[in-house]
């Protein structure tokens, strides 16, 4: 396994990514703006649905739906989207074979890449997004659409822990995305599939509670709910603090399973490529 | 009959200044300081139909700025310019239909398409009538020996092949004026000769006016009877190569191969500029010391195996010209 001193190469990758991304302030602002507009469209749509229906069809209050949307938008960059451009270039050029020469644990290296890919943009986007949704909206008279604060400190703390679990889980999914490139020789098929599935089943397209009732038990136990839906329920106080353990179990369980799958696929994938001479 | 007239062209750029270091970067976010660069500082010249003109200068001298203005891409800040009776940047579409431009470092052909398909597409873009196109195309293919390359995608061509294809492409629509920007850069010796031959031929046989921008002095010596030197946005010299040389120096170089490698050479009127083992190079002014007299004196004092007299290489001439006007090459 990885020893403490051996973490240096992984830290280096993450640090380098951060520095690159911090340079692109203008792009970050542009992205923030787009997300705000998207969030507003979604919230207006849900508001219209809510005003047209009876409370019997509404599993959660509208204010919670608004918070849910902003929660998801803030964490948007953390979700396992597109494959790492560096990995894609490596696979296409064949340079990925050099990975086998590296004196470090390969899956750890790939996981570190995913951490680098996900962490920097998340931190850059999440905080400003949350601030705008929580503080700016009430100022401009759209207070009923804001990101509401957690009802208690315990919920906030619990949400922080759950978000950490979500981050680790998302990186495992991201790594799987990158590993898939080995098997499709640079083709984006699996990544696109992952994007579709994640969009629908994580709650980003439609808040999970609003999806059909019969689907709820399935959704709750799929890995994607752990990305931000479950952390949100802790944040908003839907789950008793004691149920935090259940959330963490689900997140961690899936993370370990995905890591195991990823390790296996990475090893086989690299060896397969080398054998083929590709 | 002047085809290209440039009168007092002026172009200034504002360049953002970058202060190095973290503090500079942070300050740069708040306020950017600018430096003005006079890329063209009153450039004037005129070129007649059918001339083959070389246009040289150090990097950043204003060569590409001039070419951009002449081709209509760039609008200058001041001065007058007329190409074939048109102001290039005013009637862009009418103007660019009559000129061809070749950049040495990037191709205008479509990367994934076979050469012949690029040609056909260009024909459509330039609206060349069928017969004229076929004639021009076939002539270019023959002159530049492109027959075997027609079905090859451009990305698979070697640098020399690509340049030949680019030259052909630039002439398919029968332009009267051709701008060449570093056409021989990176080419092997054989390709360079082929490119030079082609340029000479189309200039001589078809009367295409050629403006050649290059750093390669061999190109200039091989092709151009007229050379313009630009540095710091100003034209330093405009005339024949001989006149350019004379403008800078009358100096000639005498190179001798001595039998005795260590022999000291001390001749009035001759300065030793280089010694490499047996070979010694002396600079002298032929008006002060006639070459024959110098050779006789040297032969009298030293045992000489071989000797030759030449002009200083044009690079040295041009470097001195730049230096005398305060420009680094």
């Amino acid at each position: 396994m990885i020893r403490a001193g051996g973490l240096r190469p992984y830290r280096a990758i993450v640090g380098a990514r951060f520095r690159v991304l911090l340079q692109y302030r203008a792009a970050a602002l542009a992205g923030l703006w787009t997300q705000v507009v998207f969030g507003l469209v979604l919230i207006m749509v849900y508001e219209a649905f809510y005003r047209s229906s009876s409370p019997a069809t509404q599993p959660i209050a509208f204010a919670q739906v608004a918070s849910y949307v902003w929660f998801g938008q803030a964490l948007f960059a953390m979700l396992p989207w597109s494959a790492d451009a560096e990995v894609r270039a490596m696979v296409r050029s064949g340079a990925v074979a050099y990975e086998l020469c590296r004196p470090v644990d390969l899956y750890g290296l790939w996981y570190a890449r995913a951490v680098a890919q996900r962490s920097a943009p998340t931190l850059l986007r999440a905080v400003p997004m949350a601030l705008i949704a929580a503080l700016v909206l009430p100022r401009v008279g759209l207070g009923e659409w804001r990101l509401a604060p957690p009802p208690s400190l315990a919920c906030a703390a619990g949400a922080a822990v759950a978000l950490l679990g979500a981050f680790v889980l998302s990186c495992a999914l991201s790594t799987l995305n990158n590993v898939s490139l080995l098997w499709t020789l640079g083709g984006e098929g699996v990544v696109l599939l992952m994007t579709t599935v994640v969009t629908l089943l994580s709650g980003l397209a439609v808040p999970l509670p609003l999806l059909p009732g019969w689907a709820q038990p399935v959704l709750a136990w799929l890995p994607f709910a752990g990305l931000f839906d479950l952390p949100f329920r802790v944040y908003a106080g839907h789950l008793a603090p004691g149920q935090l353990a259940s959330v963490l179990v689900r997140q961690t369980g899936w993370t370990l399973a995905l890591i195991a799958l990823g390790r296996w696929l990475l090893g086989r994938g690299l060896r397969r490529l080398v054998v083929q001479g590709g | 009959m002047a085809q290209i007239v440039v009168d007092n062209l002026v172009k200034t750029y504002r360049v953002a200044e970058r202060t190095p270091g973290l503090w500079g970067a942070l300050r740069g976010v708040a306020r950017r300081t600018h430096r003005t660069v006079r890329a063209l500082d009153g450039v004037s010249f005129s070129i007649d139909r059918g001339e083959l003109v070389g246009y040289i200068g150090p990097n950043g001298a204003g060569k590409s700025t001039t070419v951009k203005a002449l081709s209509g891409i760039l609008v200058p800040d001041g001065g007058r310019c007329e190409v074939a009776g048109r102001v290039p940047w005013r009637d862009r579409i009418a103007h660019v239909a009559e000129i061809g431009v070749v950049f040495g470092q990037r191709t205008q052909l479509w990367w994934d398409l076979p050469v012949i398909e690029s040609f056909d597409l260009l024909r459509e873009i330039y609206r060349v009538p069928g017969d004229r196109y076929r004639q021009a195309r076939d002539q270019m293919i023959e002159l530049l020996d492109l027959g075997a390359l027609l079905d090859v995608p451009v990305r698979q061509l070697s640098l020399g092949q690509r340049m030949r294809a680019d030259l052909a492409a630039a002439l398919l629509h029968g332009p009267a004026i051709l701008f060449l920007d570093e056409p021989t850069i990176g080419l092997d010796a054989v390709s360079k000769l082929a490119v030079r031959d082609f340029i000479k031929q189309i200039n001589r046989d078809r009367g295409v006016t050629v403006i050649l921008t290059t750093h390669d002095m061999d190109d200039i010596e091989a092709l151009c009877t007229r050379v313009m030197v630009i540095a710091g946005g100003k034209i330093l010299s405009d005339g024949t190569l001989v006149a350019l040389r004379a403008q800078v120096t009358r100096e000639r170089w005498l190179t001798v191969d001595l039998v005795d490698a260590g022999a000291a050479i001390d001749e009035p009127g001759a300065t030793e500029i280089r010694r490499d083992g047996h070979r010694v190079c002396l600079a002298f002014d032929p008006e002060v010391v006639p070459p024959a007299a110098l050779i006789q004196r040297l032969a009298g004092r030293h045992a000489i195996r071989d000797l030759f007299v030449e002009n200083p290489p044009i690079e040295a001439i041009v470097a001195r010209l730049y230096a005398s006007h305060g420009q680094a090459p």
């Binding site: 692109y24 203008a26 792009a27 602002l29 542009a30 992205g31 703006w33 787009t34 705000v36 507009v37 998207f38 507003l40 469209v41 207006m44 749509v45 219209a48 649905f49 809510y50 005003r51 047209s52 229906s53 069809t57 083709g187 098929g189 696109l192 599939l193 994007t195 579709t196 969009t199 629908l200 397209a205 439609v206 609003l210 999806l211 059909p212 | 172009k11 750029y13 700025t65 951009k68 209509g72 891409i73 760039l74 609008v75 862009r92 579409i93 009418a94 660019v96 239909a97 000129i99 431009v101 990037r106 205008q108 479509w110 398409l113 398909e117 597409l121 459509e124 873009i125 330039y126 609206r127």
Partner: protein
């Protein structure tokens, strides 16, 4: 100067050539093309699945039922697919300017916008196009639309107008690349955001949001009003019946304005150099 009909015919012919080349080179990679189309179809289909799920739960949105919303959704989907494909060269203009390749376009005796449009015509957008047509098909079958020739033509006009509106946005996006290459993403709020917004009938949004997408970026205008006219139902916004029939004009008008802004951008580029 060439006469306008000649000029347009000329431009169409050149674009046709560009398109044929692009299509041919894409079809060379048949497997990749097929997977691209299929996956785009699945992605967009899952998007509609989300909307279906919402209607399954709530039944209606401000008086609009699923088949009616499906008409708006389908119209937007089809137009977005078409304009996203045609306008790919504009979408990538940031890279073109940065690499200096725009100079080469200026050196050719043709419209720069036409050349940019001709750079690529990605076919995998057909997946989204098929999905959009499928959704419209559903709207036709499940809804009770009284189709007349006039209404069918209006639907086509609406799509054409939306394509103009989206292309106008892409032209404006490309124009900003003359000044800054990093912030181009701001326009996604209008292109993708506009497409998402247009999927639902305008009447469900707040007045200021509606107003923007009717008067400023007329995506809402060219989809909603014609859609209402096609559905043959009274407009909750209170616009008189004929509005739906002239609303498509806003699309080409917007594009024309965008092209004027583009000219300003090109003039700026040619004054400051690359």
């Amino acid at each position: 100067m060439t006469r306008l009909p000649d000029a347009i015919g000329d431009a169409i012919r050149l674009y046709g050539r560009y398109a044929a080349l692009s299509i041919r080179s894409q079809l060379q990679y048949r497997a990749s093309f097929v997977t691209g189309v299929v996956s785009t179809f699945l992605v967009t289909a899952s998007e509609f699945l989300g909307i279906w799920a919402l209607f399954d739960r709530f039944g209606q949105i401000r008086g609009w039922r699923l088949p009616e919303v499906a008409l708006f959704y389908g119209l937007v989907s089809v137009s977005f697919a078409i304009s996203d494909s045609i306008g790919r060269g504009l979408d990538l203009f940031g890279a073109t300017v940065k690499s200096g390749d725009f100079d080469r376009l200026l050196l050719r005796p043709r419209s720069t916008v036409l050349q940019l449009l001709g750079q690529d015509l990605p076919l995998r957008r057909i997946g989204r196009l098929a999905q959009g047509l499928g959704v419209i098909g559903y709207a036709v079958i499940a809804g009770s639309i009284d189709w007349t020739v006039g209404r069918a033509l209006l639907a086509v006009a609406s799509v054409a107008a939306s394509v103009c509106a989206f292309l106008g946005l892409l032209v404006l996006q490309a124009t900003t690349a003359f000044w800054t290459v990093e912030s181009l993403e701001v326009w996604n709020a209008f292109t993708y955001g506009g497409a998402t917004m247009g999927q639902y009938p305008l009447s469900i949004y707040r007045w200021w949001f509606r107003g923007f997408f009717i008067l400023v970026v007329p995506i809402g205008c060219v989809v909603y009003f014609p859609g209402v006219a096609i559905l043959g139902r009274p407009d909750p916004l209170g616009a008189p019946g004929f509005v739906g029939w002239i609303a498509p004009l806003a699309g080409p008008a917007f594009l024309a304005i965008a092209l004027q802004v583009w000219r300003v951008g090109v003039r700026h580029y040619r004054s400051t150099g690359s």
